[in-house]
Amino acid sequence: MKIRVHVWRQENRSDTGKMETYTVDGVLPDMSFLEMMDHLNEQLLSQGNRPVAFDHDCREGVCGMCSMVINGEAHGPMQETTTCQLYMRHFEDGADIYVEPWRSRAFPVIQDLMVDRSAFDRIIEAGGYISNHSGPKPEPNSMPIAPEVAEQALDAATCIGCGACVAACPNGSAMLFTAAKVTHLGLLPQGQPERYLRAKSMVEKMEEEGFGSCRNYAECEAQCPKGISIAFIGRLNADYLRATLLEPMDRRGKMEAQ
């Protein structure tokens, strides 16, 4: 296969950046999209040019590192597929392919196709956990969890934190990401004590980081490589609402566990 790729090139955070076009020959249908990019980079290197920077690591669709908008869609045209698991057999010989980084105010471009997603980490740091020390814990079977509840929690926990939902959303909203974590922990009995505070702190952090609001475009679900459902956003809204409506009067100040 011979294809033409149009790639976003940007030196660093302050550079304005632009699209560049390269012709790539010798592409095989069984190559993954990232192997095609490796191939392009070898070609650029042999011509004395700077290779294209892009994030990638596990190359098996689970680390969430790869992040490319391909022909206008986050992770490209295949449903529930990360860029690293997208294969060239899904493109025509001679195709023009447009490759861009995630676009969002909250994800500044570092170089070429690589963006800074640390805002996601900060949302988790704001409450996306069940507080714990390491050490002896109760026997798990003393707290039975119906398999359908565990499965639904796992459906939400499957989120790989890649940021495709933000890239896909016209508003750059991180609601799907936040909702997935709130749902995962909020469905389980272990997550109940912090459930409402968690929803509130995570949503507040999300807004502070500059993500947009949800307007039910549902593009996030459509382009999510793990098929996370927007039904979870409804759950997040319900938990958030309850957290803000029923917030107890702060009579004694918050108590931090020692």
Partner: protein, 639 residues
């Protein structure tokens, strides 16, 4: 001169860890904030350790080269995590998990460490559930189990085929809690370039900020390496692209002993390599062997579609050769048998290096739905990569490098031979011997990170005392920074014609052929000749573009490959010195009539520990003798 004092506990093995813990010194809660600990790596071991230490009140600096701690490669573990809960009432116990692990490791692991691992396994499940890890449940809401290669009980806990991901997210969230509380300072996109050693004690690290290119040192009272394995020395492996040996190898060059570098696990069930462009191999969890039957055509050159080959012409080689375990033999046995049938010319697929893993019988027995619900994401993944549906046609699989049992030598407290430097998870060597059992790596990483290191490091710190931390303005930090910077500069100044990937690919081929599934004196001698030549070629002709003061992925890769080019030689040296077969280390000269690994217990019941002796000098071999008091030595037999 390196001394090996394993600090082994005394008394009966069942009480050893408890007694040992009771005799360790503690750091009180008021003093913990005064100590600074560096944790490098944020996989299961690193994130668990950083989170646990942070929660205890220590000051922690934590480093990872990825853009977020949640990306570490523990995330890709599919199958499950072992724990001897005995929920199935099938006779499981700490003792059985211990003996299974010792046997699986072919009697080349340290007994006391393995017993402790088995003992802590159940607490890991409790900890993970408390964090909200959504393990599979049975209808009554109790935790579900499945069996895994190499054992006769069902003790593996799982979350579909994404157990590693869920356990890692548990650790990551625990770490995030501590980062949010400012107990842990997280440095993303930062790579360790060297360790700072002063007066024989590890005092900190030198790291490169991968975005700005800045090389900077960090000072600490103790350093913990949780930097994973070195399978990428083979170029193609199931490891993530970024996995590397640099941190462990730099520790070795600074005086830490490196143990059993040649012990590499080749996983039997990976999707076969398709061509030179291949950038990594994808594992298919070995839990698939519970329901899949492995076979090849009996006759060479049988080009019929698998469905058209009648039973009589199918060779279910594992079931025929190992009736008791069948398709569930340990990984090394399964891998070697696959290679053996393919070398005989009866392999399948375009390259002839593949075997079938067939679900037809399981589907007939349990229905498509039952099989699919168990392995949904694995089947999808396979379908996506190969364009073939495993429900309709058997999978094709072939062994791939997966895990490295070798690593930095550590004592019972997980401290290396360099005081102040600890190694946990896959980066150390102690628990898996010459072969790791399935679903045991998650267990070991979490035992190290949650329960062992947080206690043992306190003993070191309590004895080390306060006020010994060096200021990062001390000359030793500047010198180490300068050395690291000059190595970076050397790589950039060559500006040759060959790319880094090209060298990596060539090194991988040498390692796979000469120090792979099976090794022999002649193959290893070949490797020992070829690697230094390739290294010389690398320093003459490698092309690393750009400069050091910005984000430069080629430079990152070059640094890692440069270390692999030295480390590969150490692996071959070790494999050559170990003139026996054991576990995954299969020396062709030493096999039984049934092509099984033949150990030589009289001469090789020891851990090989290598000490760095300077540029160009041969590393010196030290031996830690292994004693099997609780569970005496016996020949492994999976028939």
């Amino acid at each position: 001169m390196l001394t090996l004092n394993a600090n082994l506990p005394t008394g009966p093995i069942q009480d050893a860890w408890t007694n040992h813990k009771n005799n360790l010194k503690l750091v009180g809660p008021k003093n913990r904030p005064k100590f600074k600990i560096i944790v490098v790596g944020t996989g299961l071991a690193g994130a668990a350790a950083a989170a646990s230490l942070g929660a205890m009140g220590y000051q922690v600096d934590c480093f990872c080269f990825q853009d977020s701690p949640r990306r570490a490669h523990s995330i890709a573990a599919q199958g499950g995590v072992n724990a001897s809960k005995n929920y199935r009432n099938d006779g499981d116990s700490t003792w059985r998990l211990f003996t299974d692990t010792i046997k699986g490791g072919d009697y080349r692991a340290r007994e006391a460490n393995v017993y402790r691992l088995a003992e802590l396994s159940t607490a890991i499940i409790d900890q993970a559930v408390a964090q909200g890890v959504p393990f599979a449940r049975e209808y009554g809401g109790k935790l579900a189990n499945r069996s895994f290669g190499g054992v006769l009980v069902e003790r593996t806990f799982y979350c579909r085929g994404e157990t590693g991901q869920q356990l890692l997210l548990g650790c990551y969230q625990a770490l995030a809690e501590q980062i949010g509380k400012k107990q842990v300072a997280m440095y993303n996109r930062s790579e360790l370039l060297d360790l700072v050693v002063h007066e024989g004690i590890c005092r900190g690290i030198v790291a490169r900020d991968l975005e700005s290119g800045q090389i900077k040192s960090f000072t600490a009272d103790a350093v913990v390496l949780a930097t994973g394995g070195y399978g990428n020395v083979y170029h193609l492996s199931t490891n993530a692209k970024g996995c590397n040996v640099t941190a462990a190898y730099r520790a070795f060059k600074r005086g830490a002993g490196f143990a059993n570098p040649c012990f590499t696990q080749i996983h039997p069930t990976s999707i076969p390599n398709a061509g030179d462009y291949q950038s990594k191999l994808t594992l298919m969890s070995e839990s698939l062997r519970n329901d899949g039957r492995i076979w090849v055509p009996r006759n060479p050159g049988d080009k019929r579609l698998p469905a058209d080959i009648p039973e009589a012409d199918r060779f279910y080689y594992l079931e025929e050769r190992y009736p008791a375990f069948g398709n569930l033999v340990p990984r090394d046995v399964a891998a070697r048998n696959a290679k053996e049938v393919c070398d005989r010319g009866i392999g399948v697929g375009p390259t002839g290096y593949g075997v079938y893993l067939d679900f037809a019988d399981a589907i007939k027995r349990n229905g498509v739905h039952a099989v699919k619900s168990k392995y949904a994401n694995l089947f999808e993944m396979y379908h996506r990569i190969t364009d073939e549906d495993p429900i309709k046609t058997p999978m094709r699989i072939y062994p791939a490098v997966h895990y490295t049992m070798g690593g930095l030598w550590v004592d019972y407290n997980l401290m290396t031979t360099l005081p102040g430097l600890f190694a946990i998870g896959e980066a150390n060597f102690a628990d898996h011997g010459a072969n790791r059992l399935g679903a045991s790596s998650l267990m070991q990483c979490l035992a190290d990170g949650y329960f062992i290191l947080p206690v043992t490091i306190g003993d070191y710190l309590a004895k080390y005392g306060l006020q010994h931390r060096l200021k990062s303005t001390e000359p030793v930090f500047q010198e180490t920074e300068k050395e690291a910077a000059s190595r970076v500069q050397r790589l950039l100044s060559i500006k040759g014609k060959r790319t880094v990937s090209d060298f990596h690919r060539e090194l991988g081929k040498i390692m796979w052929n000469d120090c792979g599934i099976s090794r022999s004196q002649s193959s290893l001698e070949h490797g020992l000749q070829a690697i230094p030549q390739l290294r010389e070629e690398f320093y003459r002709h490698v092309n690393v573009p750009g400069s050091h003061d910005h984000l430069n992925q080629s430079l990152e890769h070059a640094g890692r490959v440069a270390d692999f080019l030295e480390f590969g030689e150490l692996m071959c040296q070790d494999a050559l010195l170990r003139d026996e077969s054991c576990g995954c280390h299969f020396r062709e000269e030493h096999q039984t009539e049934d092509n099984e690994a033949k150990r030589n217990d009289d001469e090789y019941t020891f851990v090989s520990v290598f000490e760095y002796k300077g540029e160009g000098a041969k590393p010196e071999l030290h031996k830690e003798p292994l004693e099997f008091k609780a569970f005496p030595l016996a020949q492994r037999n999976y028939k």
